[in-house]
Amino acid sequence: MSTNPHLTWNVVHDVSEVLEYHFMVNALLAGSVVAVMAGVLGWLMVLRRETFAGHTLSMMAFPGASGAALIGVGAAWGYFVFCVAGGLAIGRSAQGAKRSRSDQPAGIAAVQAAALGLGFLFVSLYGGVLGDLENLLFGTFLGISNGQVLVLVVLAAASLAVLAALARPLLFASVDADVASARGVPVRALGVVFLVLLGLAVAATSQVTGVLLVFALLVMPAASAQALTARVGLSLALTVAIGLAVVWLGLGIAYFSIYPAGFFVTSTAFAVYVVVRVGVWVKGASRRGQRLSGQPPAGGVIA
């Protein structure tokens, strides 16, 4: 870091020191926006069991960036083209595979492998060194401009608005696809729209904060929240809260350390998840223990 920050016991002083720097304020703002957007999208992704598809879509950043560099347009165009194409291709491969569950990940894997292969081809044809590759994967977080924060805010608002408009049918289709399609909900089309939306969101955020961080914020807060409660509203709110806490904590620690923010954010999110799983397990175990030691409930023989 620019000066030589060190942690004191005065938390208020530490926080105000962090907030004195414009780049830290922008990093916190961008991180918060990503945490909210990725939290909500990720909550649906985890519910729909589409983690692999989400991972594959976040990989589209690689051919997107290298392809854009090759033909000399802005990287953003490459991201968008590849993410939309990837979302459509995954949706297409899922269609043919209705009869066997195991075939679906294989189709997604084929999409990802093809995209990565293209990425290597583009890098090779480009001939130069893609210096941004490491940034793209892991993000720097420290050079975020005001303009980028604004782009993120607009993007998050747009994707959350689309999600809100689709919320009821999408939730229905995600929880029980068969019943939903019998009721006339266009399950397949909704699935494709969701994947494309997920891809766009991941693409746009990953050029600011890095693929790894976006994916961590997609999966971990949502999985933690869904392990804690089955209520939709509460679980969504918890996801966003965990995401925000993890980003703030991770960035705060990174400021006082020489190691990258991506590591601290993923580790904090993982720690939250582990604590939640252990807590749920202990609670379940103690409840089972009570049931075993206590009197059998009336009529409990059949159960």
Binding site: R49, A114, L116, F120, V219, A227
Partner: protein, 275 residues
């Protein structure tokens, strides 16, 4: 073409790695564990970086990381059938894998920083080498070692093929018959880790996925017989490897990884049309 030593090395290592990927991949697709294979190929990178940061041979770190995480995924995975959305439910396997490998990639970022601060530069090159592997850059000793490890993995796979097939298709019946279903599951993903680590050396971590999934998925679409399917998956993988190597040799600007995966994915696309 065969008079070039680098080409002979590439063919030797590539053939056996493709064979292993085809055979293991058939079971991976059958069990719906493609994501696990993908995650393992990413885990190779932090493993190698950790070893580099600690000053140990990267190969050791790479194998240790993939096998350990493979066993972890195998132990963690209760299949995707556990109740969803219920509070306290065991998460779906894909979620668990996503969480685990994101955390490990985060560790990789840490080791990358540790490595570049502890030694003088070179971190990017090291990382790129582990991530991308270059089949045309294999030495004779490396190629032979890769071939032996891949052949051993294939042999081991064929030894456990029968009970594993039983356990994959009807786990309940297999368990009732005394087949150690859970142990087999863990052992299988650990073996997948060995193959992932080995393929990382040759085709590179990111392209391993193509060889593991596409030929096997094509074979599953074309035949439902296990013996024919395994043979076909291995055959398609080896054909993709040979074709890709020859193509990359003929067209210098085409990276071998792209050519190999391109052919593998093309066969998969053809199989979906044929079906």
């Amino acid at each position: 073409m065969l008079s070039q030593e680098f080409m002979r090395n590439a063919l030797l290592a590539g053939t056996f790695v493709a064979l292993a990927c085809g055979v293991v991949g058939w079971f991976v697709v059958l069990r719906g564990q493609v994501f696990a294979g993908d995650a393992l190929s990413h885990v190779a990178f932090p493993g190698a970086l950790a070893a580099a940061a600690a000053g140990i041979d990267e190969r050791a770190g790479l194998f240790a990381a993939t096998v350990a995480v493979g066993a972890g995924i195998g132990a963690l995975g209760r299949g995707a059938d556990s109740a969803a959305g219920k509070a306290g439910a065991v998460p779906a396997e894909d979620t668990a894998i996503g969480i685990l490998f994101t955390f490990i990639l985060g560790l990789g970022v840490f080791f990358l920083a540790l490595f570049s601060t502890s030694s003088a530069g070179g971190s990017g090159i090291q990382a790129a080498h582990t991530l991308f592997g270059s089949i045309f850059g294999l030495g004779a000793v490396q190629a032979r070692l890769a071939a032996v490890i891949a052949a051993l993995a294939t042999g081991l796979m064929l030894v456990i093929a029968r009970p594993l097939l039983f356990a994959s298709i009807v786990p309940d019946v297999a368990a009732a018959r005394g087949v150690p279903v859970r142990l087999l599951g863990i052992g299988f993903v650990a073996l997948l880790g060995v193959v992932a680590a080995e393929a990382t050396q040759t085709v590179g971590a990111l392209l391993l996925l193509g060889l593991l999934s596409a030929p096997a998925a094509a074979a599953h679409r074309l035949t439902s017989s296990p013996v024919a399917g395994i043979a076909l998956a291995a055959l398609l993988a080896v054909v993709a490897m040979w074709g890709g190597l020859a193509l990359a040799y003929a067209v210098p600007s085409l990276p071998p990884g792209t050519a190999i995966v391109g052919i593998a994915v093309a066969t998969y696309c053809v199989s979906t049309i044929v079906e």
